[in-house]
Structure formats: C-alpha cells, structure tokens
C-alpha cells in the first residue's frame, strides 16, 4: 500500500554517501538514490604537468551517452589538444576514426576572420589521435581551451561510435578559434576508455569532467 503520509518509521534505509532520500518505486517506503537529474558527474580529473588524462573506468552501458567538459586546459608547450578511444580498457588508444573538422576564427586586432573546413586535421580511417583544436594553443598565462565532447553509446557492440565536439581556444597569435570536430570510431567493439593529451609537451593545468547522461 502506498504511503498516504510520511512516517518516521518508514524511513528505514541504509545511508549512502552523497545520495539523496527518495520514494521507492512502489511509493511505500524510501530508498537512497541519485537526485532527479539526468546529467550525472562521474569523474573529475585535474591536470598538473600531466602527460595525459585518461578515463579508464565508468564508460559502459550504464549511460546512453557521455559528455566530457574541458575547463581551462593550458599546455606546457605550444600545442594542440587531442583525444583517442580505447577498446581494451586503456591498454591501447588506437581506434580507427573518420572525422570532420571546421572552425571559425577572429583575431583580436580585427584584421582577419573566417569560417571554413580544415582538411589538415580531419581523419580518414586513421588510428591517430584526433586533433580537437586544429592549431596550437598559446602558453601565455591567460591562454587555454575550454569546451566539450559528446560520445554516444560507447558500449554498443552493434554500431560505430559517433562523437561531436565544440571548443573555444585562444591561439598563440591572439586569436579566438571556435572548432567543431565530429566523426565516428569505426568499430563495433565496446569503447571503454578515452585519453586526452597535447601533441607536444604536457597538459600544464586544467580540468576534465566526465558526465553520464541518463
């Protein structure tokens, strides 16, 4: 029988750190569970002179899609920011990918701006890391890149693995660049890990957060 009124004797649940108290599915008692949101923070990694940041757990069939947020990624050397996927829990980051890459840019001086496709940084059935910025991020103290990458259904064993990203970076020549990279990991094996790194030097600082979307 569903509860008509909450009673202290009905609250007989086991405490679970950082979980909320919610009605159970029969509405006749309570349980510990996630708050009502659909975007669940799963992991946060903070770079500090890091060669790479890798997420090797938590990517499975629990969520239909995963979102990675990049916050103030700052390189130790003038470098591009890139990623790759793994189907063996991070032992190898070498999934075959076909991708597209276009960008808009504008110089602080106002002297140039454009929108266009970038043929030099897309991939065609390549296992290389995918460049998400297409150009070097500056190392000035206030330079960096922020944005997000959306990875769909990584655990599917039927379909290829689509992804889309949108980043904004401050280039070495005082230029804003807005990049749009998308494509697919051309594998029907489950993707279970992802790695981010610079193409030169380390990730000096910055935060990458991984969310699951219910």
């Amino acid at each position: 029988m569903a509860l008509s009124k909450a009673d202290v004797n009905n609250i007989n649940i086991t405490p679970t750190a950082s979980k909320a108290i919610r009605w159970n599915s029969a509405a006749d008692g309570f349980e510990a569970g996630a708050l009502g949101g659909s975007m669940v923070l799963l992991s946060t990694q903070t770079a500090s002179g890091s060669a790479n940041l890798s997420f090797t757990s938590g990517i499975d069939s629990t969520y239909d899609s995963y979102v990675f947020k990049f916050i103030n990624i700052h390189p130790s050397e003038t470098a591009s920011f890139m990623f790759n996927l793994s189907i063996d829990s991070g032992s190898n980051y070498n999934v075959t990918k076909t991708t597209t890459h276009f960008r808009a840019y504008h110089l602080e001086s106002g002297s140039a701006s454009a929108l266009g496709y970038e043929t030099g940084v897309d991939l065609a059935q390549s296992t290389a890391f995918q460049d998400l910025t297409g150009d070097s991020i500056g190392t000035a103290n206030d330079s960096g890149v922020s944005g997000s990458l959306h990875l769909f259904s990584p655990s599917s064993t039927t379909f290829v693995k689509h992804f889309m990203s949108n980043l904004s970076l401050l280039k070495t020549d005082n230029e804003i660049k807005n990049t749009f990279v998308a494509g697919y990991g051309n594998t029907t094996s489950a993707v279970d890990a992802i790695q981010f790194k610079m193409d030169n030097g380390n990730i000096d600082s910055g935060v990458i957060k991984m969310y699951g979307i219910t």
Binding site: P15, A17, I21, G37, D64, T100, S153, T158, H162, G183
Partner: protein, 218 residues
C-alpha cells in the same frame, strides 16, 4: 561515525527551500542538495516504427511551460531504408496534422573514409522557407548494420503565446556507406500559438531501431 540506522535525531540540517535532503559525504548526517537542471521526461524506443511522437499530457510527456527549453536526444537511430533522413514537425492544441510553418537553415561538414570530400557547406535541399513539410534533421542515414545517427535537438519556449518557436539541432551520422556527416540545422516554427507536440519520422520507410529521449531544462 557513519549512521548505522536511520535516527530521528540525525535530521539536524537547516531546511532550504526547493532543495532535496541528501546524505552528506561521510554518510554520518544530512545536507541539502540541488537536483539537476536537466530532467529526463520520456524515452521512446523505435522498433520498426513509422513515427515517434511526444504529446504533452499523454504517457507522462510534459511539453508545456514547465520548462523554458526542451531537448531531444537521438541515440543510435537506424533507418529501415538506406539514405532515409530523420525529420520532425510540431503541432498545436489537439491538432495532429503536424504541418506548422517552418523557416530553417541547414549546413553540413562531411568527409569520406578514403580521405576525399572533406568540406563544409550550406545545403539548400534541406532547408525550408515558410514550408509546412517535416524538417530534415539529417542528411540520408546509411542502413548497414553498424551505421546510425546520434545527436540532439533543442526547442526553446514551445508554449510561448508571444514568440515564434526556435529550434537548433546538431547531429552526427553515417551516409552512403563511408561518409562521416556532421549536420547543423536551425529554424523556427512561425507561430505564436503554443506547441503541444512533436513528431519524428524517416523521410522514407520506418525507424528500424533507436532511442529518442525528451528532457526538460530549467
């Protein structure tokens, strides 16, 4: 010490309006917590489906002024017919014609697996100018076993009685066996009447499989 059994005396938390009650990080007491700003409203799963429809007030669907933004997420959409496009329309009140007037834009970034064809461009065949047809969200999607389409579509303030209803989509799909297609579509329903429903279907044939989720965003 962690709580071993729920105790009335453990409720030593200061109430905060519109917050939830949650266990703290040590699980030895309580704290207040916020729920997420993105709430899953409804999940529809296609199985050789001619259409997937989200109707306010039906089957737990909310599509009214509860949220200012609604987001549809597409997971592994697989068409029965090769190169069929995923399309959508909306309607008002209890109408089921799905023929609202739309003006829209559509552009693509594309690249072939053999390294050719990398380009960015506007696609005039997928936009509308005061048209009432279903709006293309994608280019044609391949229907090989591993081909599919994923992405999202947002509709802003569908229940407004003042403004036209803007929408924006970004999707990624396979096209014609070996193309990667990244499509960007946007536009508006040119009506000041509240939308109450949205329908998705392929331009040809059924939605063989796939999931469409509806979220409300606060």
């Amino acid at each position: 010490m962690a709580i071993s059994k729920f105790n009335y005396n453990s409720f030593n938390v200061t109430p905060v309006a519109s917050k939830a009650l949650a266990f703290n990080s040590d699980a030895d007491g309580f704290t207040t917590a916020s729920s997420s700003s993105m709430i899953l409203i409804k999940t529809l799963t296609a199985s050789s489906s001619a259409t997937l429809s989200f109707v306010d007030g039906a089957d737990s669907v909310v599509l009214d002024d509860t949220y200012p933004i609604y987001k549809f997420e597409f997971i592994n959409i697989h068409p029965a017919t090769n190169t069929a496009k995923l399309t959508f329309q909306g309607d008002t009140g209890t109408n089921t014609s799905y023929n609202q007037t739309i003006t829209s834009t559509f552009f693509n970034s594309q690249h072939k697996e053999d390294g050719s064809g990398g380009s960015l461009g506007y696609e005039t065949s997928h936009d509308q100018a005061q048209g009432t047809a279903f709006q293309d969200i994608t280019n044609g999607i391949g229907n090989l076993n591993d081909e599919n389409m994923n992405g999202e579509l947002k509709i802003f303030s569908p229940s407004s009685g003042t403004f036209v209803k803007h929408f924006i989509s970004t999707v990624q799909s396979n096209y014609d066996t070996n193309w990667s297609m990244n499509s960007y579509m946007a536009g508006y329903f040119n009506t000041t009447t509240a939308l109450t429903r949205a329908q998705f279907k392929m331009s040809s044939g059924n939605i063989d499989s796939g999931i469409i989720k509806l979220y409300g965003i606060k």
